[in-house]
Amino acid sequence: MSAFTPHKLFLREITIRYPNKAIAVSELTLEVPPGEVFGLVGPNGAGKSSLLKCAAGLLKPVHGSVWCGDAEVTYNPRLTAGYLTLMPDPLGVYNDITAAEYLEFFAMAFDLPQELSRTRRQLAIDRLGLAPWLDHEVETLSAGWQRRLALSRVLLANTPIVLLDEPAAGLDVSARSDLLKIVRGFAAEGRTVVVTSHILPELEELADRFGIIQKGKWVPVSKDQIFFNRNDLTDSFQKGAWSLECSSPDAVRLLLGEDKVQLLPGSNRLRLLAQNREEAAEQVARVMRAGHKIYHFEAETLTLAEVTREALEPKT
């Protein structure tokens, strides 16, 4: 397969209006470098799909511009198609053609010369495991295989940027896991990937960086922070709680005070509450000085779902 040139995706101050003039997205800026999977999180109607459609040149922004690398491609779907593949939600499929015809059709739509078309179709078949389904009509394929087939467009067009709108919607656990691997594979090749999903545990596993969007605007997760990465989830966003496994939990509760320690239900682990890591470490040192053994000590971190819920909760 011929190599593609990696490109970053840059959305600059995008504002989109619905036909009824309501604001879908308001002055939103996003930059995603090559090789990164960016997770776009937000409730229904937040503007995620509109933003992806705008990035793909299918919706005209009333303000702002879309850049693929150094090329401005704002509202130019034909030009954008050379840089970017969008897998929309809902995923529209042609019902009356076979998977092989689907591949052939899109190879023709991308205007690939015959030899290149054959090579790329074969690559898509091999990479996505489509061989057993080539003669099946698309409508008879399961949702997971239909999505894989749709992903074949990325390999046919060989675009450096991939936008996936709810790629895991309606898929079972196994299909979701397979899809995850494929998408991670795209990023590993140096493609820029933007994914929206309501299935946050999967998105947490898939994406490198996240942004929360609501009513067409970024929602900050802290005073000065809009975007966050997976390291933030494990290191920075702490709950102020630590999980502690020790030799005598009841004695430790008495030692530290019941307001500082909770017994986790159904286990002999304790939940240690502290303002910061220094205070938590001091408490642990006290426990050890008292002669109790510590088996496990770990900071409790927030999940993507918790961060999102917290960010979207109305602030009092």
């Binding site: 919706l59 198609a81 050379g82 929309p88 499929v93 019902n95 015809e101 739509a109 991308f110 467009r153």
Partner: protein
């Protein structure tokens, strides 16, 4: 094949049973209608040595008008859901995320309908050639008739495609197309006939002006009108209509071309508009 939409549509259509059922019923209808003049002319008690030519003309006239009537129903129907169906299937965003323009998409769909119309016209050729075999009709007349019928099929399918871009749902698209064509084919000419009593009396120049207005406004652009104009001698046994045939034909074709372009533009807009659907 350069246009992938044409390739896709032809693949889908050839596989559909509907194509073969429509083709069979269409042939049956043509066969039935061709037998009527054949039987009535042959059994005529005053048959003359020129009878074969009369038979040929009768079969040809019946065939072309049956063909036109059938195509005026089939061609709009075959493109009436072309875009609304894509919209319902949600396939347009994926399709527009390719180097294809909305005009290429609309044109591919239109070409597929035109190929279908050509297929139906091809099926009817044996009936039209009967007129030539019986020496009543020249090959040029057969070709002119086919050309006019194909042009009418092209314009009606383009209008239907435009309407399918305008309406959101397939069912409303079919209903809307049916309504528009009913108004154009039936209601508008009847309104033209109903205003006849308004014709001024006495002044011949004003009468001629009124007749021109009536003809060009209500009847000339009717899909059957160019066929009537082209074959008026055969139809009216030598008599002709009081209009300049060339001007009337060119005017009709001009209106068709304008309608075709307008509705093609509407179809392209409809494809882009579908992307803002929630």
């Amino acid at each position: 094949m350069k246009n992938p939409l044409l390739w896709l549509e032809l693949r889908i259509r050839i596989r559909e049973k509907k194509l073969w059922v429509i083709s069979f019923l269409y042939l049956l209808c043509l066969l039935g209608m061709s037998f009527v003049p054949l039987v009535s002319t042959i059994d005529h008690p005053y048959s003359s040595p020129t009878q074969p030519a009369n038979v040929g003309i009768a079969i040809f006239s019946t065939s072309i008008f049956t063909l036109m009537a059938l195509l005026l129903i089939i061609s709009p129907l075959s493109s009436a859901a072309a875009i609304s169906q894509e919209r319902e299937q949600r396939t347009l965003p994926g399709l527009l995320n390719t180097p294809l323009s909305s005009a290429q998409i609309a044109f591919g769909k239109l070409l597929a309908t035109w190929v279908f119309i050509l297929w139906l016209i091809g099926l009817s050729c044996p009936f039209l050639f009967l007129g030539m075999i019986w020496c009543g009709i020249s090959w040029w007349e057969v070709l002119s008739a086919l050309g006019i019928i194909f042009a009418a099929g092209m314009v009606t399918s383009t209008i239907a495609l435009g309407l399918s871009g305008y309406f959101k749902r397939t069912i409303t698209s079919y209903l809307g197309t049916g309504t528009v064509f009913f108004l154009w084919f039936i209601v508008w000419p009847i309104i033209g006939a109903l205003i006849s009593p308004l014709q001024p009396h006495g002044n011949k120049a004003e009468q001629a002006r009124f007749a021109n207005f009536q003809f060009y406004t209500f009847w000339d652009h009717h899909p059957v009108a160019p066929l009537v104009l082209a074959f008026q001698k055969e139809l009216f046994e030598g008599a002709s209509l009081p209009f300049n045939t060339t001007t009337a034909l060119l005017s009709a074709l001009g209106v068709w071309l304008a309608l075709g372009l307008i509705f093609f533009f509407v179809a392209c807009r409809g494809i882009r508009r579908a992307l803002t659907d929630k």
